[in-house]
Symmetry: C2
Subunit: 328 residues, 2 copies
Amino acid sequence: MTKNLVIGIDLGGTKIYTALASLSGEIIAEVKVPTQSTLGVTGVRQNIIRTVERLTAETGLKGQVRAVGIGIPGPLNVKEGVVYQAPNLGWREVPIRQILEEALKLPVYIENDANLAAIGEHLRGAGAGVKDLIYVAVGTGIGGGLILNGQIYHGAGFGAGELGHMTIEPDGRPCNCGNKGCLETLASGNAMVQKALDLVKNGRGQSFLAAAGGEPQKISSYLIARFAAAGDKEALYVLEAAGTALGIGLANVINLLNPSLIILGGGALKVGRFYWEAMEKEASRRALQAAWRQVRIVPAGLGDRSGLFGAIALACQFETPGVSRQTS
Amino acid sequence: MTKNLVIGIDLGGTKIYTALASLSGEIIAEVKVPTQSTLGVTGVRQNIIRTVERLTAETGLKGQVRAVGIGIPGPLNVKEGVVYQAPNLGWREVPIRQILEEALKLPVYIENDANLAAIGEHLRGAGAGVKDLIYVAVGTGIGGGLILNGQIYHGAGFGAGELGHMTIEPDGRPCNCGNKGCLETLASGNAMVQKALDLVKNGRGQSFLAAAGGEPQKISSYLIARFAAAGDKEALYVLEAAGTALGIGLANVINLLNPSLIILGGGALKVGRFYWEAMEKEASRRALQAAWRQVRIVPAGLGDRSGLFGAIALACQFETPGVSRQTS
C-alpha cells in the first residue's frame, strides 16, 4: 500500500498545532491542544503523540502516514535531530527526533519554527514564487527565517535568522541572551509591555494602568493597542517606539541581504496600524535607496498556520522518491 | 588556437590593479597604475585599457586572452553590466561592460569589488574550502561580500553585503548614504579620523595634532595608529571606539547569518592590534554563544590581492566549456 499522507506539527510554548495532510500539502484534519510545558519533555511528548493519534484515529488513516515534520521554538541541530535549547519549553539538549520516532514508529524531521514559517510562506503564503525572502516572527520575542536563493539558509550551525538579537541600542535594556539593546528588547510584544511599565513607573500611562485594574503586571500589548486605537497618546508612543525599532532592524537586514520580500508574522502584529506605520517610516529612512525600492514588506499570508504548513512541507520533502534524508 | 589566459582588474578609487592570469588562476604578470578618477569615465576607461595593453604587449600573449573580469567599487547590475553608482569614481549609470567590450574586443564581466574580494578569499585565501563566509572590507568606508552555501549571494538587485550601512547608533553621526549612525561612520578609517577630529575640537588629542603640524586635516588613521602604538591614551581611545563599533556590527552579522568564517580586509586594518582586540572583545560579548563558538574572525589571506584574484576567477568561470554567461 502506498503511504500518501504526512503529519505536520507546530510546537509552540503554549499550543501544539498538528495537522494531517496530503503529500501535496493539503490539510485533511487539524487539532490544537495546550502544550503544558510545565509537564516537562515527557509530558509534552505525550501531548504531541496524543494529537497525532487523535488525527489518525478520527480519520481512520493511521496506516497512510509516511513521515512527521515538527517545528520547535529554539536553536537545534536539524541533522542530529537534537534541540539545543527551547526556552519557552524549558528544554535543553533534547533528542526529540529519536524520542518521537520511537513513540510514533515513523520518520521524524525537525526544524526551527521560524524557519518552518518561512518555508510555509514561501511555498503557499505571501512569499509564493519569491526567491529571496526574510520571514520575521514578532511575538513575545522576535525570530526569523531566511529563504535565500529559494532555500532555507541554515548557516554554519543551523542558527541563522536570529535577527531578534541584533543590537539596535548599544547601551539599551538587557536581553535574555546576555546582550544589551537587542531588537527583541525594543520591538517585540514584551518590549511594548516593558516600555509601558517604564511609563507607569514614572507616573504616566495612568489610562491603561487603570484599565489593568491598577495592576502593572496585567498590562498587555493588546491593552496598549486598544488605548492607542482610541487615541491615547502614551499608548501611541509605546507602539511607535516599538515600530521604529523594528524599522531600524529591518533596514539593517535590507541593507545586508537586499531581499525582495520581508514577511511579518506573529501575534505582536495584531496591535494595529501604528506599529506597522512607524516601522515602515523608519525602515524607508534608513535602508539604502536601491535596496528599499526592491523590497516589499507584507503581513504573513497564512496567519497562524505559516509554521504548520512549513512542518507539513518538511515531512513531505524527504518523502519524494530518490531524495534522501537531509544531511546539511 | 586555444585561448587560455584571462585578465583580472581591481578598479579602485585610487588605483587600477590589473593582472594577466592562466585559467587556473595563476598570475603571469601584473601592473598597478593610478585611477585618476578626476579624468571621468573616458579617462579611467583609457587607463584601464592601457593596463591591459601593457600586460599583453609586454608578455606577447595578446592573442591568448579569452575574457576580462573587473571589480567596481559600488552597486551595479552584474547581468546588464551597468554600474549604478561608484562614489569613489564619481560614476553614475555607467554601462562599463559595453564600454570595455567595445574597446578591448573581449567578453567583459563585472562584479562589485567586495564581492570579488570575497570570491578571491573563498577560492584561494583565508576562506578556501569554507562554505559560509562573510568578507568585510574596512577602508575609508566599510563594504562586504557574502559567500553563502559556497556561492556569492547577490540578493534581489545585486546589492547584498552592505553591512557598512547597518545602523549601530540610531542617533549617531550622519552618513553619506543619508542614514545616521551607520557602522561606516563609527568603525571605518574615516570614522577614526572623525573621532580624532572631535577630540581635537574639544582641546584634546594635542599629541597627534602636533605631529600633523597643527593641521587637523592632516590627521590620518595611520598617524593615530602610530600614537596608539606608542601608548598615547587618546589615540588608543579612538582605535578602541572604532573597534568596538565594528564588534557590534560583526555580532549582528554573526547572529543573523551564523557564518563559520568572517574575513577582514582593507587598509584600515593596518592600524594595529588595539582595533582588532576591541572588535573581538565586543563581538564575543554581543554574539549569541552558539554562533560565536562556530565562527572564526581572521585577516584576509591575500592581502591587497583578494579582489584581483576574484576578478581573475570572474573572468575564468564563464569560460569553462558548457557554462553560459551569468544571468542572475
